[in-house]
């Protein structure tokens, strides 16, 4: 059989909620450490939008705090790419561009969801995502079509991230991602095949992320300030 891959299915609400939550957390890891102050602000803003979107979706599924802080790592359903470590700035921006392309299609689909809250979150998120996409795309283009060093890093980022894209390649995703890569003068690889080893590694990385993210709430249940 030829190694063609089929498009990924549209994710469940839970998968989108978890994806937004963990991607948001990854972005906050940059704050105060980004290449420029404007980038600290941008990544903080994008993280905040994603957190708000995750909260809206989680609250449609149950108690948001319970789901975010007291669920075990194995019970999260995010696409692996959302929780994969930041790496360098090139990898963070390429991850963001891929996730933004995915979310654009996901929000459009969820805008017709049967649950009011989900439709409401999606309708708002469509507009927020447009800003995120513009930002991540401009960095992928700037770095991919930039200096020898920035291009080298963008190519390495692509090598790292591409195996994880099979999970998010919903109908329309490949075209959107190709459009970004072409403008960045980055060669577009053949469609990614599901890579169990890469995804298994991400499950371990997610465990480490959650250990940190959940530690305060678990050490002091019900804490507020």
């Amino acid at each position: 059989m030829s190694p063609t891959s089929e498009a990924a299915e549209l994710p469940t609400v839970e998968a989108v909620a978890d994806g937004c939550l963990l991607l948001s957390h990854r972005l906050t890891e940059w704050v105060s450490d980004a290449p420029t102050m404007e980038e600290d602000v941008a990544l903080g803003n994008i993280a905040l939008d994603l957190l708000g979107q995750a909260r809206g979706l989680l609250s449609s599924l149950g108690d948001e705090d319970q789901l975010a802080y007291f669920r075990d790592a194995d019970d999260f359903h995010n696409p692996a790419i959302c929780a994969t470590p930041n790496g360098d700035f090139a990898k963070t921006m390429l991850r963001q561009a891929f996730a933004d392309c995915w979310l654009e299609l996901v929000w459009a689909a969820l805008a017709d969801h049967e649950v009011d809250v989900v439709r409401g979150v999606a309708a708002k998120a469509v507009k927020e995502n447009a800003y995120h996409r513009r930002h991540s795309r401009s960095w992928v283009v700037r770095l991919g079509d930039g200096t020898e060093e920035s291009r080298r890093r963008m190519l390495l980022a692509l090598e790292d991230l591409w195996p994880l894209t099979a999970e998010i390649a919903v109908p329309g995703w490949r075209e959107a991602a190709t459009d970004v890569l072409v403008e960045a003068t980055i060669p577009v690889p053949a469609a990614a095949l599901a890579d169990d080893a890469a995804i298994a590694a991400c499950v371990e990385e997610r465990r480490a992320l959650l250990e940190e993210m959940q530690s305060l709430a678990r050490a002091h249940p019900g804490a507020s300030w």
Binding site: E38, V41, A42, G44, N45, I46, L48, D49, L50, L51, G52, Q53, R55, G56, D116, V117, R119, G120, V121, A123, K124, A125, K127, E128, A130, Y131, R133, R134, H135
Partner: protein
């Protein structure tokens, strides 16, 4: 509007956005409904948040409750997500207050506006139309950072949303 509902209206006019203290919740366009009980003792306010993760939303909801508690025995604040908030709902008075405060007001309607084609009409400091974007994200979710190339001052721009 009944004379009684005007009480709610007047009270809401005093509730300001904590990040942009010249903009009331009415100017911002997030108040989508005011329902009073027949005896005028209870009121239900419907609010549509601006951005998904905006931390000001919870502060604003609490401030609405406090402002109305003086006039009503019971205050209910209901959050409504649909239709989503847009800067098209901002009042003309609100836009002027923004400019006086040094923030460029949303330029144009959100309908069919694409991120990236959005730019302030002029510098809120000197009025020049020669402006350029410094950063697409600013100090709050609703703003971007711009600079005037005439007077050289940076300024916030309230993005069309």
């Amino acid at each position: 509007m009944t004379a009684a509902a005007a009480r709610a209206w007047d009270a809401l006019a005093t509730v300001m956005d904590p990040e942009i203290p010249v903009l009331s919740v009415l100017d911002l366009g997030i108040i989508r409904g005011i329902e009073e009980s027949a005896d005028g003792r209870e009121v239900e306010i419907t609010v549509t948040p601006t951005f998904s993760g905006c931390p000001a939303t919870e502060v604003i909801t609490a401030a609405i409750r406090t402002a109305l508690a003086a006039s009503y025995d019971e205050v209910e604040v209901r959050v409504q997500l649909l239709p989503p908030w847009t800067t098209d709902w901002m009042s003309e008075a609100g836009r002027e207050a923004l400019r006086d405060f040094g923030i460029a007001a949303p330029n144009g309607r959100a309908v069919l506006r694409l991120a990236g084609s959005d730019r302030p009409d002029s510098c809120p400091q000197c009025g020049s139309i020669d402006v350029e974007e410094l950063a697409g994200f600013g100090s709050t979710p609703c703003k971007a950072l711009w600079r005037c190339t005439s007077c050289r001052e940076p300024f916030d721009y309230f993005k069309v949303h």
